[in-house]
């Protein structure tokens, strides 16, 4: 009986606790889903990577000629849908060397060490591919990049004047980061890529305007 007067406040306190806990769980769940939305793209096995039969065969040949076991191949930082996809393939040789191939559209580079790609370009190496639309203007752009550890952030300048933070994918081995970006909309074509240091200082800028411009066919021979 004598506890009865205390039940009201106790119940009220418990109820408030439940409400606060509910709000907290909701907020954490929301944060988690937001983080998932912004999370870097997953690392895919070679089997699961979206590839045309031609590109798959080409990558297998390139891997084998570089001494890479096809079973070790992974696709990282992949964004976009074929044929307008950008990503980086990583494979491991029998002596544990990691080699990378740059994939843009329905083509790819051969497998080479990251150091060879970064030579003279540290802290940021960017390659970009472009294809025409029906009128011959640039219609699709794919970009892949490799950032050295000192480049803590990479920002993409878009044609519309806005900027977009690149998702940097870092593998368990090594501190090198990989990034990829695609656009099929001229307003969001990448026109420059910037590497920023830990203090926010700009370390390197790669201007892409001429790289994504249409090829002037009148000046080609052969």
């Amino acid at each position: 009986m004598k506890n009865i007067p205390h039940r009201g406040p106790l119940a009220l306190a418990l109820g408030m606790l439940v409400v606060v806990a509910g709000i907290t769980v909701g907020a954490v769940t929301l944060q988690s889903s937001k983080a998932q939305t912004n999370a870097p793209p997953p690392v895919l096995s070679f089997r699961d990577a979206p590839l045309t039969p031609e590109l798959r065969e080409q990558l297998v040949k390139a891997a084998q000629s570089a001494g890479i076991g096809v079973g070790t191949l992974r696709e990282v930082a992949g964004v976009g849908t074929p044929p307008y996809r950008a990503s980086i393939f990583i494979g491991t040789t029998s002596d544990s060397a990691e080699l990378v191939a740059l994939r843009m559209s329905n083509g790819s580079s051969t497998f080479v060490p990251v150091g060879a790609i970064m030579a003279g370009e540290r802290p940021l190496s960017v390659s970009v591919s472009a294809q025409p639309d029906a009128s011959g203007a640039t219609g699709h752009v794919q970009l892949v990049g490799i950032a050295a550890p000192e480049a803590r952030r990479v920002v993409v300048d878009l044609a519309n004047g806005k900027q977009r933070e690149a998702e940097l994918v870092r593998l368990e081995r090594g501190a090198t980061s990989f990034l990829a970006f695609t656009s099929d909309d001229s307003s969001t074509f990448p026109v420059a890529v910037r590497a920023l240091g830990a203090d926010g200082k700009e370390l390197a800028v790669r201007d892409l305007r001429s790289a994504i411009a249409p090829v002037q066919i009148a000046n080609i021979s052969g």
Partner: protein
């Protein structure tokens, strides 16, 4: 006066030697084999292509170029008539393999998208 002439002559001889060695280096890097697409200076917006070789849908381009002023060269895929199909701006000594859209007739090659003249040694092969 005589000393000045000696210094001048020595400078000329040294400069000629440097020019000769650079020229020899460029010349030796070039070849006239079937895979060569143009080992020469490329003016801005100048390109050189060749029809893909038999017998796969992929055709690879490889180049070396003077990196004194520019870090990128553009590899291109065009139709037989020269219409642009695909391009990749990439770095020194990179090999990039395109998937042909019209196997057997598409062309691949190198294109100078930079603002200045560039010495390029461009080649292609069927992987």
């Amino acid at each position: 006066m005589r000393r000045r002439i000696v210094v001048l002559l020595a400078s000329l001889v040294a400069a000629a030697g440097v020019s000769l060695s650079v020229g020899t280096g460029i010349a030796s890097a070039c070849d006239t084999n079937w895979w060569n697409l143009g080992c020469q200076f490329y003016s801005p917006a100048e390109g050189h292509t060749g029809t893909e070789f038999c017998c796969s849908a992929s055709e690879c381009v490889y180049s070396t170029f003077d990196t004194t002023n520019f870090l990128r060269i553009k590899y291109i895929l065009t139709t037989a008539g020269g219409s642009w199909l695909n391009s990749v701006a990439t770095g020194y000594a990179t090999t990039f393999c395109f998937t042909a859209q019209n196997p057997g007739s598409d062309k691949v090659g190198c294109y100078n998208h930079n603002s200045g003249t560039l010495w390029v040694n461009c080649r292609h092969y069927n992987p």
